[in-house]
Symmetry: C2
Subunit: 297 residues, 2 copies
């Protein structure tokens, strides 16, 4: 028998309230439920303590930020310890006056802070004004060591970049994890919506395939209004999923409802799949220098 190392992974695809307290209580309750189902790891979606405030550029929203060392960490590290689960949480980090990041924090199952990742690729699109709020991450692409393995935690827009996934894998990540906040412009056609959602699933599954690791992607769900009234708001499309190291789907959440669920990820399967598909062996590192250029004109 092939050895197995099953990691029970819980995902939380929620809608959000304007009240931080309400969101936190819902998140904690979901973590408890998933732990009761046996989850050893729980992944929350991006910026799960608030509405997705980046729909407008408003300095008042900097009030939503927190020092991760303070209340945010108290609450989620306590939840990790109480439920003996590893938690991947997503914070609006206040680092210094006028300096903020979109930061994933990982709490180990004893409540200690295992590490953090500051979102490296920052989007800026109508309705997703993240360059206004978040400085690009300066911690690089480094897996976070936990009691359950080395977690390649990335955030949302990073998911479109094969480079980020690859570097995490080269640094020994045993799986990739994407808290995310992506949705439709309600005015788009059904065909355009389908293309966007499918592209989003495809690119993330491809990171599993290219690197022979599992991928966990957890998205927000539901409609959030644009307070400025300039756009029609965002329909966060849910569709969270867990894929195995061949890109095979292990768990898929709906695009039209909240969802909580647990997937069995076999971390030993990475070794098996990489024996069959030894892509790392054949990389042409002598010929990849162009990747460090913006463009080659």
């Amino acid at each position: 028998m092939r050895p197995t190392k099953i990691l029970k992974t819980g995902i939380v695809q929620h809608t959000f309230s304007p009240e931080i307290e309400v969101n936190r209580n819902r998140n904690i309750a979901a973590i408890e439920r998933l732990a009761d189902e046996g989850a050893q790891l729980v992944v929350l979606s991006e910026l799960h303590d608030s509405l997705y405030f980046c729909q407008t550029e408003d300095v008042a929203n900097f009030e939503l930020a927190c020092r991760p060392e303070e209340e945010f960490t108290e609450i989620y590290s306590q939840a990790a310890a109480d439920n003996k689960v590893v938690i991947v949480a997503s914070a609006f980090e206040r680092r210094a006056p006028g300096l903020y990041h979109n930061t994933a924090l990982v709490f180990d199952s004893d409540g200690s802070t295992a590490g953090k990742y500051r979102k490296m690729h920052i989007p800026d699109d109508p309705g997703f004004y993240e360059k206004f709020y978040f400085a690009p991450g300066d911690l690089g692409f480094r897996p976070i060591d936990t009691s359950i393995g080395k977690l390649g935690v990335l955030v949302c827009w990073d998911q479109w970049y094969p480079e980020a996934a690859r570097i995490m894998a080269l640094r020994g990540a045993e799986m990739l994890i994407y808290p995310t906040a992506i949705g439709w412009n309600p005015d788009d056609t059904p065909e355009e919506k389908a293309r966007q959602r499918e592209a989003w699933i495809t690119i993330q599954r491809s990171h599993a395939v290219a690197n022979g690791v599992s991928v966990v992607s957890v998205n927000r769900f539901g409609f959030e209004d644009d307070p400025s009234g300039q756009t029609s708001g965002i329909d966060f499309w849910g569709s969270s999923f867990v894929a195995g190291p061949q890109g095979e789907m292990l768990l898929t959440a709906p695009d039209d409802a909240p969802f909580e669920g647990v997937a069995d990820i076999d971390l030993e399967r990475t070794q098996e799949v990489r024996h069959w598909w030894p892509y790392l062996r054949d990389r042409r590192i002598d010929a990849y220098g162009d990747l460090l250029h913006r463009f080659i004109d």
Copy 2:
């Protein structure tokens, strides 16, 4: 109205005979048919002049190689000129005694040789003993300029490497093209076969998504015996396809039959999609240095 630049792209998914003459005649006939249907570009599958000889390591097979300057080029450049189409062909290149490559050759619609690409990533798996036959390419990842645009031609195993696709895009490729030879071990379970085929489609569609360019992948079709009897041979799974720059499928060939067909690729759509999804803008070229390492221990 948005400008369009439609490129009619023909794909040839064939079975193969032990007779080179037979294969060449079939290929030429297919090129003629597709040109009659309006194709401006025709893509053949990998090593389309012979059986897939890499199922065994046999020095006798070096006899199958050719100098691309000689007969191979005469035949396919004539076909290009006769039919006024650009042809992406795939040759077993004899470069010097004991030095061979797996080389894609592009013939422009006037019969001139537009350029060549030597397969950079060389696989070696049971039944795919390519490291025995082919030296790794030494021409880098450079698009080939033709009268219909800059073609990012890569070959088979390259398709698993996001790095190759990215560099082609950074060097201005307007589309990606993969002649390929991939199939199932007939002994694998239906579930494993499905995972492999789906992973292969997923990774290539992801290159379209990540880079905002169309992707053309043309695979061999049908069963080819292992002359050594060591394996159960290869069931080449066809499934050739053309995807647009959001990864949307424009043309899909079956996995259980030969196929010829023409897809309309709108090369101007790349600009539109990259306006919506400006991934090139946000690449963290300051933080990608690790990509040039084999592994970071």
